[in-house]
């Protein structure tokens, strides 16, 4: 295989694996920019993956070929509602946000598996029939080099993910809503003084993160795993969390980091069929994203500029 062929093989795979990470990481950006730590991203993705499959299997006769897109919507809504638990605990009940996030992760896996066993009577669901398929972008696929790289064999969901990342950047940095959201995360008291409802902003931010992570999970389950079991989402949420930090809490940065992690994941999964890479023991490829994250945190980005009020509940009247 020539270098170019390897590239044409690897880049589409990387983008495909990155899509769920991008969406979830963007969700994390919203939540953490408003000052709420969200370790529960993993659990929210699990919920999204489960609802995606459940909806797909249940309503495939009703919606036919468009079922997978409707399932994304359902996953978004349910995961957003599920994330309310985290919002209530960490915003209103002043819980330790990290602990509450851990609880979300435990609860999501337990609840989804409980429901799977109750509904299907076994440890995993059936495979879905309507799934996201690779397609070629009309006209653009003909561009030399970039065509095969980005516009052939791609998923529409990847386009959606990248579109949402750009949208999130515009919303966070160029709209009053985004300014308020960031203000609440940096200095909630100042924001409160200016008449911004801190509690409401944080609730909205956490629910946005839930919705996006839900979509991310549903994309993963409907394009890669195709069923739901205890190991469907196995660390993707944490990787999205790492991508968010790697990207310095910026939507486009998070997208870049997620693409990079997607590339590492693609390498570890399809790398065996590539020359040179197949020589490397697979364990190194498996741990690559995690090691790189640690190295990046220690070296490149140094002390990252996390939102100042991150992790602290806002208590009115307390200095």
């Amino acid at each position: 295989m020539s270098f170019l062929e390897v590239l044409y093989f690897l880049v589409p795979a990387a983008i495909a694996y990155a899509a769920p990470l991008i969406l979830t990481a963007i969700g994390g950006v919203f939540s953490e920019r408003s000052g709420v730590v969200n370790i529960g991203l993993e659990g929210l993705m699990v919920m999204g993956a489960f609802i995606g499959i459940l909806f797909n299997l249940t309503f495939v006769n009703v919606f036919g070929a468009g079922t997978e897109w409707m399932a994304l919507l359902a996953a978004m809504v349910v995961a957003a509602l599920f994330s309310l638990l985290h919002a209530v605990a960490s915003v209103s009940f002043r819980a330790d946000q990290v602990v509450s996030g851990v609880a979300i992760n435990l609860l999501a896996v337990a609840l989804c598996l409980f429901l799977v066993k109750m509904i299907y009577g076994k440890g995993q669901t059936d495979f879905v029939q309507e799934r996201f398929l690779r397609t070629d972008f009309p006209i653009l696929e003909k561009i030399p080099f970039f065509g095969p790289l980005f516009f052939q064999n791609f998923y529409w969901t990847s386009t959606l993910a990248i579109g949402i990342a750009v949208l999130a950047w515009i919303v966070l940095y160029y709209t009053p809503f985004g300014l308020r959201l960031r203000a609440v995360g940096e200095h909630p008291m100042a924001a409160d003084t200016m008449g911004i409802n801190v509690t409401r902003m944080r609730y909205i931010a956490v629910m946005i993160s839930g919705g996006l992570a839900g979509i991310g999970g549903a994309i993963y389950s409907q394009s890669i795993s195709l069923d739901f079991s205890h190991s469907t989402i196995n660390g993707q949420g944490f990787m999205a969390l790492a991508a968010m930090i790697f990207g310095k809490w910026h939507p486009l940065g998070a997208m870049g980091a997620a693409l990079f992690f997607g590339f590492a994941q693609a390498l570890s999964i399809v790398g065996g069929s590539l020359p040179v890479i197949s020589e490397i023991p697979s364990v190194f490829l498996l741990i690559l994203p995690y090691v790189l994250t640690i190295l990046a945190l220690a070296g490149f980005i140094g002390k990252a500029n996390a939102p100042k009020a991150l992790g602290t509940p806002y208590i009115k009247g307390k200095r």
């Binding site: 605990a89 009940f93 602990v99 509450s100 337990a110 609840l111 023991p281 741990i287 995690y290 220690a298």
Partner: protein
């Protein structure tokens, strides 16, 4: 109402609320909660055998809880207990299989190897926190995955492509004929004594040594500790190392006691994550950890009886545990409620 009483009431109320929510979930999904909890009870205390197995299950939970609690006391959140436990598990199994010494050398050596491996896995995030101010939560999460994949690869290399190290030599085993005979041949082993000894060790370090005082001081206010001449960075690293060593020993319990081998894992054991719940429920004190571990260990083991006896998926107990964590974390609300309630009583 005294502060101490409220501190005890919060976890107790949380557990009760968790069980109530579990009952509601069972009711809504068409199961019989009474039959469910009866099956759970029988799964924990049914006969001597189940009691033995329950205590066996509690053993690693105590150590995982100690690991989380110890780091918490120094102001560190060690989510990496899971990974530290996995590397400890592998290290103990490796020493158990690869060497052949008399028992009084072999068993301690395997335990030390496990504690050492866990300590190393805790040292890295500790060092990064102290030296580069990298948040330990992220690093320990990453270290969990690195531990999982690395030990899996090592087990494969070690067993020439197999997925199991094979049984450890009897000289490294924690197996106890005495405890087995007493509990109708359950897998109960001497590890519980080691776990309880470690509870004492943690108490000793934190309450009776200067170093423990420093560790707690750093946890309460690291600026004040720094001004009073303590080396904050050194204490952070030390806390993570000790915490990791506890977790590694937790892995040794599984490697030398329960299973007597290490195998390739498809996912996490969950013991390390449950350790967070144990520590929280036990208010991060050594004695509290015993209670937390006893509760969660029993719930986890008893849950295995629920599908057989009541036809309810075991996951219901994981749901209950997650809800309990929620309520303990949201202690502020329960505190508020308890205080209002007691004030009303006083007014009457």
């Amino acid at each position: 109402m005294s502060n101490r009483l409220v501190n005890i009431l919060v976890p107790v109320i949380s557990v009760i609320l968790g069980l109530i929510v579990g009952a509601i979930v069972m009711l809504v999904s068409g199961y019989d909660p009474v039959a469910g909890y009866a099956a759970l009870w029988n799964g924990i205390f049914g006969d001597v055998y189940t009691i033995g197995e329950t205590i066996r299950q509690i053993t690693p939970y105590i150590l995982a809880g100690l690991a989380v609690a110890f780091a918490f006391r120094t102001g560190l959140f060690n989510i990496g207990v899971e990974g530290q436990l996995i590397v400890g598990w592998f290290a103990a199994a490796y020493v158990g299989v690869a060497f052949d010494f008399p028992k009084y050398i072999h068993l301690p050596l395997a335990l030390i190897a496990a504690a050492g491996a866990g300590a190393l896995w805790g040292f890295i995030p500790g060092l990064l926190k102290a030296r580069f101010k990298v948040h330990e939560v992220i690093v320990t999460i990453m270290m969990n995955y690195i531990a999982l994949h690395t030990t899996n690869a090592l087990i494969k290399t070690f067993s020439d492509g197999g997925d199991n190290t094979g049984p450890i030599n009897p000289s490294a085993s924690l197996r106890s004929e005495f405890l087995e005979n007493m509990t109708d041949f359950s897998r109960l082993h001497y590890g519980i004594l080691i776990a309880l000894a470690m509870v004492f060790v943690m108490w000793l370090i934190l309450e009776k040594t200067t170093r423990g005082f420093e560790l707690k001081a750093v946890g309460l206010n690291h600026n004040a500790s720094e001004y009073s001449g303590m080396n904050v960075n050194k204490n952070i690293i030390l806390a993570m190392v000790i915490s990791g060593a506890f977790a590694g020993l937790g892995g040794a319990m599984e490697a030398l006691g329960t299973f007597e081998y290490a195998s390739v894992k498809g996912g996490f054991t969950g013991i390390g994550f449950d350790g967070i719940a144990v520590a929280l429920l036990g208010a991060n004190t050594p004695l509290g950890v015993i209670f937390g571990a006893a509760l969660f260990g029993s719930l986890k083991y008893g849950a295995l009886n629920m599908p057989n006896e009541a036809g309810i998926p075991t996951e219901i107990v994981s749901i209950v545990i997650a809800i309990i964590i929620f309520f303990v974390a949201s202690g502020y609300v329960i505190r508020l409620f308890v205080e209002r309630f007691s004030k009303k009583k006083e007014a009457k």
